[in-house]
Amino acid sequence: MPSHTGYQDNLIDGQHNYETITDRIGTVVLDQSKFNPNSEVGKKWINAFLFGFLGVNVLMLVIGWLVYQGIGIWGNNQPSAWGFDIINFVWWIGIGHAGTLISAILLLMRQKWRMSINRFAEAMTIFAVMCAGLFPLLHTGRPWAAYWLFPYPNWLAMWPNFRSPLVWDVFAVSTYFTISLLFWALGLIPDLATLRDRAKSKIAKILYGFAAMGWNGSAKHWHRYEQAYLILGGLSTPLVLSVHSIVSFDFAVSLLPGWHTTVFPPYFVAGAVFAGFAMVLTFAIPVRKWYKLEDFITMRHIDWMCKIMLATGLIVCYGYGCELFYAYYSGSPDEKFMIMNRMAGPYGWSYVLLIVCNLAIPQILWSPKMRQNLAVVWMVSQAVSIGMWLERFVIIPVSLHRDFLPSSWGMYVPTWADFSMFFGTIGLFFFLMFLFLRFLPMISIFEMRELYHRDKEAPSKNSHKHAHHHEPAAVTAGGDDQ
């Protein structure tokens, strides 16, 4: 099908066969000379990694001081008992959701294009949930007693209150993390076997061999594997919807104007996917170029991710519209005041910026030409990331700081500890992402082979005897190898 946007209508560009696909993706991790800081791409990797490492150090220092001094070093106060900690928690959890959407929901919908981005996006999910989890953990004030959140027999004979959304949250987030990790690990096993069989260095052979657990690719193993993988996809789909719905219950179940609305669960889930795709694009655009993976993460992928971002962004904006309508139609003076305060109160600037970032800027993506301009797409993704962070700022402290009683109004001012901890988690995310890029295949190799088989070989089934004798040294559209 010729396309009006000018890109090849392929999920795999260039001339490839099983061997070149395996080689192109596997080499990134097996040929560690690519990470030599003297090479151009190695320099980029080391810079990104060092940025992450710096962030991790900042994070550890802040957490150390926080545990010693207590959460008074944050800007949280009365009436704004929730501040950066919960904003960042919700923001990070949301970012993780794109990974599950790609790996699970698109799997169930038989969207083949997910195959080249799922590994990468799932890794993002896991690291984002790790960053997210830190905030409520430290917000408890006594992180060493965080296991009190779980139901376990104890001498105080105390149990969690299962009617509380905060307890649901504990179950939702810990289940989400566990299942995402297992889903990802299961998907990695066949690729680890590939790396085991291709590794030249003894250490790599042993380590990948250990991790591959003796996978030999037998038909029976694949059969059970696919059954489990598909069912996990089926389980993860409602799971990911439940996680952000439950996160939104933390707010919606309360009585505070600005929180107490029924639109929250769908609106939070859409916002999560919106922010998540922005983060996938933020990483995918530079990384596919650095490691010459343009043949696998094609312009078609970028185009479709932009469309999903645009669609979910519109759902989020519909949510903003609903909030305005509720305030007007409820007839409640407190609701009306909340919206007026949100738009024109002391934090009005944050609402304006939110609308610019989440409503105005993403409309650029209606243009097919702009969706093919990587610089524009990358900038829009940044705007969305900022916008979705602001959304949580607008919802959390801006709703809290002025509620029913003017006598208990206050202002929320984040401190250096809030900012450095947020920066620290961004660093932690970078740190883990770039370690992942270095040691694990960032694209699912076996799924790319399967995609190649279905996409390129299936139509010429009768002539396959000739078709599969392509020379490995095929010319690729993505440019030269070295």
Partner: protein
Amino acid sequence: MIHAAPKNPVFGLVAEFSHPDDLLHAAEQATKAGYKKVEAYSPFPVHGLTEALDWHESTVPWMIFLAGIAGGLGGFALETWVAVQAYPHNIGGRPLFSWPSFIPVIFECTVLLAGVTAVIGTLAINGLPRPHHPIFGAKNFDRASQDKFFLCIESSDEKFDVSETTKFLEGLDADSVSSVRNDEDDL
């Protein structure tokens, strides 16, 4: 049972192919010829392969289903026991057995147990982790995880006969046919 019969020093005969359709065809032919202990190895799941080998199994889905049910019931039982029996509290005037608010945790427990069972159960039924398997001794088998397709007729098959089976496999248009030895320790 384990050391009942002395094992054949030959684990099986392996044919190598370059294309999944050739493997599929070979698997069909082997089943048709009456071989039962046949295993196919491929670098990605080839659809129709287990059917071609006349092998059907639905243990994994059932296992996951039962684990999910157990998780859900377990979560519900825990919540009910805690809220009604172990730690009864008046929360906002709701009844002690306020089941609608138990649903999120029931759901999470269902997914958690089903998902953990899916992964651990699949690995366990596949016999993984397994440090070594005789098939890894097959010629060129490191390509089985990359770009080659293998069919192995195992020596434990009743119809197995080195020369007959070799001839059969060679008739299947394979790139090469070779024999695989059992590991010394297993003999």
